[in-house]
């Protein structure tokens, strides 16, 4: 499976930081008619995002259009097993995206509501946070 990661970064390693509050950006449907929205917070590895994307694409049988609204920008480091503390920061193990409650993860358009719902259900099973399906039509009803 292809790895999603930045093509070039200014710094090799970054500090962990904190993941607080709800999503204030990327929290609504911007491109598609249907989407999947995270309800919990996490540091989501790139392989989960890629697995979800592949699940959506395969479920829709390459019909419609898919947008991935988040990108794994953050390198996560890890020290090897059985290594003593110290001697600097570990090596980059994987890339991750910071997900806050309300973050829109994927959007889809050009397919029926039932097909989109099924695709999002499959994507939901690939990622570690609870998610919900959102549609533009339902939001317009209030």
């Amino acid at each position: 499976m292809a790895n999603i990661q930045p093509s070039r970064t200014k710094f090799r390693k970054v500090q962990k930081g904190r993941n607080r509050g709800n999503a204030t950006v990327c929290n609504a449907l911007a491109f598609g008619d249907f989407g999947i929205q995270a309800l919990e917070r996490c540091r989501m590895p790139a392989n989960q995002l890629e697995a979800a994307r592949v699940a959506i694409t395969r479920s829709l049988k390459r019909k419609g259009k898919v947008w991935m609204r988040v990108f794994p920008h953050i390198p996560v480091t890890k020290k090897p097993a059985e290594v003593r503390m110290g001697s600097g920061k570990g090596n980059v193990e994987y890339w991750s995206a910071t997900i806050k409650p309300g973050t829109m993860l994927f959007e889809v358009s050009g397919v029926s509501a039932s097909a989109a719902r099924e695709a999002m259900r499959l994507a939901d099973s690939k990622i570690q946070v609870r998610c919900r399906f959102v549609s533009r039509e339902e939001l317009e009803k209030y």
């Binding site: 292809a2 790895n3 999603i4 990661q5 930045p6 093509s7 070039r8 970064t9 090799r12 709800n22 999503a23 929290n27 609504a28 008619d33 929205q37 309800l39 694409t57 390459r62 019909k63 419609g64 259009k65 390198p75 890890k78 020290k79 090897p80 097993a81 059985e82 290594v83 003593r84 570990g90 090596n91 980059v92 193990e93 890339w95 409650p101 309300g102 358009s109 050009g110 533009r136 939001l139 317009e140 009803k141 209030y142």
Partner: protein, 254 residues
Amino acid sequence: MGIAFCFSIFSVRPLSQISWLGRGWELNLGTVTHPEYNNMKKQLKLAVKNRDGIGRGPARRLRKSGQIPAIIYGKSGSKTVSVDAIAFRTLMRSKGDSASLVELALEDGGKELSIIKDFQRDPLSTAIIHIDLLAVDPNVEMTVSVPIHYSGEPVGVKVGNGVLDIILHDIDVRCLPKDLPEFIAVDVSELQINESIHVGKLPKAEGVTYPGDENRVLALCAAPEEETPVEETPAAAAATPAPSTSTPAPAAQK
């Protein structure tokens, strides 16, 4: 045949009682029209109350008491008000996906014509948390966002297995309040693969103009995508150090 039957009973029953015509259809001077091609304006009513406190605390207290904080602004200045949440929900349901004028009933007995310029939602609960109302003068042109309703299945999707990509879901129009269209109907059924519809091709209505570039794309019919596996570029490989390969500390060192 159905239309002929409509006319035969038209003389004996008022139109409102002909339920089997189906929702949305109406008879108008002997012709059958669909509301998609009949841009009648809805005018809705909403009662607003004045509010004193501004800021996070008073706004939260208002929301707890079943009100939504709102602001009315226009050429005459701005005023902070509150709107009943249930009344606003009812209004939004009757408004649907259309642009419409809202007649505000102010607390002092006055009335003001306005449009719902914007509203904010809580991303998690999807409850509306703030409303922006733009006061409009009936004799002055205004710029309003009007939804675009797309209809039909493009030929490129039916035959060529393409994908209909809708770029704009609504568009700014400039018009007098009396000319405000509820929505703009666009038929995409004749779109071939790699064809698009631009703002310049939108139906021209009297008194309505579309400000901005006429070459903006509304919708396009894209060719089906081929899934190509993303290959790791040399630059990407260089940027990412290989997963941890350091040798573990020998147990003897402990």
